[in-house]
Symmetry: C2
Subunit: 368 residues, 2 copies
């Protein structure tokens, strides 16, 4: 198959499409990837050794659970937990690689997912498939959500897809493969019908919310249609994080999470008291982290995204140089070695918040 066919675009559009790809190198291997959303090609799509690794699609979200389910599904669907970590696709090319959401090969994720999944047998028998899932746990370079009993990173599979075309093998086959190769799946809440499931699913959301978990993905059994819904605790913790770096996070990112709170409160038919409590949490999530950041910068500090990673020395050092190669401004905050493993706390210094906060504290006039 020719490259344009693998990418599902007409031959005459190939050159234009290739211009949208960035070229990168991973351990002397050159590859190309689409870092952001484009019209005809999935974000995160990779070309490597003339093979294509299809990007993970954006899953649509509903702001109203009841009507969303009824309008979106006309058949039974599976409800699974949506985890708060980072998306990774594991594929075998000349060796096994882990690709980030935007199609970058991450040495840390590659190493950890091989350790976690032990996927050599899987790829030997299914070299044309890829394992799609979430890397969770708070010791990673990208996200910080803590899960109980996870003291490092772990991988959870949510789909198995054909590597080049991105079509799912479907739920049944996915479950069989995960069972056969001992790949850990995300938690499932079972199969529901569109018309009489909303109360049950709201209970699931409330339960997840109580435990500060992110939400659910609902999907048809062929996995072709998926719809997501998230908890208030996730909105709130996303806002806390975003407002701790207010000039670095997108205003759309903040706005969307605020809006979700309004729609949920209405659908949940909350009392006046419950609404005021939700408002209090929202206000604190916005204001208090921002104040801490302003004070830290006022005291001469620098803020950024703080992460901790641990692993073999070689893996951790390769990760740090990988992140520096990506252009990140890293500050190593702490480093300790134990039992041949190394653990590093580091901060990705984010310039806008540091620079703008400094200016405004200094009384620099804002012309808006």
């Amino acid at each position: 198959m020719e490259l344009h066919e693998k990418l599902d675009i007409p031959r005459e559009k190939l050159d234009d499409a290739l211009e949208k790809f960035n070229t990168r190198t991973y351990r002397d291997k050159e590859y190309r990837h689409i870092p952001d959303y484009r019209k005809n090609i999935e974000k995160g799509t990779v070309i490597i050794d003339e093979e294509v690794v299809r990007g993970w699609p954006k899953i649509p979200r509903t702001l109203n659970l009841e009507n969303g389910i009824q309008n979106f599904f006309d058949q039974e669907f599976l409800v699974e937990e949506k985890l708060d970590g980072y998306n990774a696709r594991i594929a075998y090319i000349d060796e096994i690689y882990a690709f980030s959401r935007s199609g970058i090969i991450c040495p840390f994720t590659t190493k950890k997912s091989i350790e976690e999944l032990n996927p050599r047998d899987f790829f030997e028998e299914h070299p044309d498939l890829m394992i799609c899932g979430e890397m969770i746990g708070d010791k990673n370079p990208y996200t910080r959500h803590q899960y109980p009993d996870i003291n490092g990173v772990e991988f959870r599979v949510f789909d198995i897809q054909h590597q080049e075309k991105g079509n799912s093998v479907g739920i049944e086959k996915r479950n069989e493969l995960c069972s056969e190769y001992n790949l850990p799946l995300v938690s499932s809440y079972g199969i529901y019908q569109p018309n009489d499931s909303v109360n049950k699913i709201r209970e699931i959301i409330d339960e997840l919310n109580t435990h500060n978990r992110e939400g659910i993905v609902m999907k048809t059994l062929d996995s072709e249609n998926q719809l997501k819904y998230t908890t208030s605790s996730t909105n709130i913790s996303d806002l806390e994080y975003a407002f701790s770096l207010p000039f670095d996070y997108g205003r759309d990112f903040m706005f969307r999470r605020i809006i979700r709170e309004g729609f949920q409160s209405v659908e949940w038919r909350e009392t006046r008291g419950e609404r005021k409590e939700r408002a209090r949490q929202l206000g604190e999530a916005i204001l208090l982290p921002m104040i801490e950041t302003i004070q830290e910068i006022q005291n001469g500090g620098k803020v950024g995204e703080e992460h901790t990673v641990k692993g073999e020395k070689e893996t951790v050092e390769e990760l740090i140089s990988h992140l520096k190669d990506m252009g990140l401004n890293l500050r190593i905050d702490n480093r300790k070695e134990k039992n041949g493993e190394i653990e590093i706390d580091f901060t990705k210094i984010t310039n806008s918040t540091n620079d703008k906060t400094d200016l405004y504290l200094d009384g620099h006039p804002v012309r808006e």
Copy 2:
């Protein structure tokens, strides 16, 4: 003087500049105006009968009162109240007109400012000057802030400028002219020095905040340099209004007001308890109006910007057709006549909030 000189641009740039102007008609008189921010010409600048009416400049803001004052001013400055109404410039061309911030001649504002200011003598003796100020009170088609004892609209002068060049006559001359022609000035808090004024000015802000008033403008005595600072109560009430129409207000508008709360809390050295109280107010200002709007749309209603105007029948009717000519979707909610005056409640229906909220309530998936 030729037109390009009046606009302060080189002759060869005139054609380009003229393309940025919109053409409108007011009672058969054609005029042109700049509706938004442009590089070389002030927003709101008007060309009418080959005369120029200079736009009102954007006043820079500080997020830190102490450092802002010390960095911005190197000489004494006047502190005046910043009022929460709408900006109007009154100028005499072939007759007296009131221009909105974006340079539109408003029939209502024209009528009311002539009634309020009675400026014929002023313009007879000073036809090259214009009166710049704020129209306040809650019975107007643009803003809704209520002031005690104002039961309609009133005008407050904050500057008198040369109509074509936009340079101020300065504080002293302004005060003389206002006194001579009986033009009501904004409230003044007196003259301060940059180095020892911040505590006093913070007290003014706290006092204004307690009375839900907007803030202050600080200006050098020639009025050439101005700096503004606003109260928390204004941030909060702006946010309440914006989040009652969440998909119509700009995300930057919301974000900036949230950020101001953080900087003020830090500069005010608030206690943990005061911060939590500020956060509660912020959260309620964001969430509760949004919930009311979602519920109103869920119940089949339509939301928008609600205003009340009153005045002579002719004035009010001319205003309503003026607003319709501007492309606004108006709904007349109530209309009553008394003593020859007419009072109309109307709503400017804002499409985005109505349309998007409807879609999302319906479960329409969001692809973000």
